[in-house]
């Protein structure tokens, strides 16, 4: 695992603690609004949806507007409520991820290299997965992807610990 030295005071741990605080707060709210007694399948499903949104929202808010992907996600949440999960489930555009680089379509980037044309197509799928990816240039897309992945792994890590904790304390 590569541990690149940070110039700032390790922002990833403060990002994590911001996420934890927000997410736990959201869980408390959800817990309060959907009382424990109601555990019908519908309720559980609603809770699951709200928890998922809370997780993604908490992370996006913790990142604030420092990233293109977080800004895209936050504006999505503001305009449409549960659309994020809908967008994610409609990602099935694996049209030409394995086509050879010689299939040069249109090169809109500066350098006129074959590798670049192929890269354009190869990043299509990635653009669908990263929030706001459609409008990013390749450079940004790769940087945003790296950060997005880090945040996703933090989300998963924290959520796992929460689940484990409450499983053990039962």
């Amino acid at each position: 695992m590569m541990n690149s030295p940070q110039q700032v005071k390790n922002p990833s741990s403060s990002l994590k603690s911001r996420f934890i605080t927000r997410f736990l707060g959201a869980l408390t709210k959800i817990n309060a609004e959907h009382p424990i007694s109601s555990s019908s399948p519908t309720r559980i499903f609603q809770r699951y949806r709200r928890i998922k949104v809370a997780s993604n929202k908490s992370m996006a808010y913790s990142v604030r507007s420092r990233r293109i992907w977080s800004r895209a996600m936050l504006s999505r949440f503001r305009s449409r409520r549960s659309a994020f999960s809908v967008r994610r489930s409609s990602v099935k555009t694996t049209n030409c991820t394995t086509s050879p680089p010689s299939a040069l379509i249109k090169v809109t980037i500066n350098e006129n290299k074959i590798a670049k044309g192929g890269l354009d197509m190869q990043t299509d799928e990635l653009r669908e997965l990263v929030p706001g990816g459609e409008a990013m240039d390749v450079c940004n897309l790769l940087g945003e992807t790296a950060h997005y992945i880090k945040c996703l792994t933090t989300q998963v890590q924290v959520m796992r610990k929460i689940v484990d904790f409450y499983h053990l304390s039962k």
């Binding site: 190869q122 689940v163 039962k170």
Partner: protein, 87 residues
């Protein structure tokens, strides 16, 4: 974002892509010498990794929704947070 100042060199691109590769858990480096094929592989791996992570968030949300009944977040806050933050 002006087009003129956006001159991405191949080297810079490769650097970014390699950096992405280091984040992926299951990537075999050094199998191919050609830059283009490992780029393809890294991008594909990245996509499937993101999908996997998003699915994990989804699954964990489902599990949380089930055990939310037994969760008493407010009372165990302090020690719980410490535990969480310790890693």
């Amino acid at each position: 974002m002006s087009g003129a100042s956006n001159k991405i060199t191949d080297d810079e691109l490769n650097a970014l892509i390699l950096r992405l590769g280091t984040l992926l858990p299951q990537l075999n480096h050094g199998r191919h010498g050609r830059a283009s094929s490992s780029t393809t592989k890294i991008l594909k791996e990245t996509c499937s990794y993101i999908r996997r992570l998003q699915k994990e968030v989804d699954d964990l949300s489902k599990r949380l929704s089930k055990c939310l009944d037994s969760m008493d977040i407010t009372s165990s806050d302090a020690e719980f947070l410490t535990n969480l933050l310790q890693q």
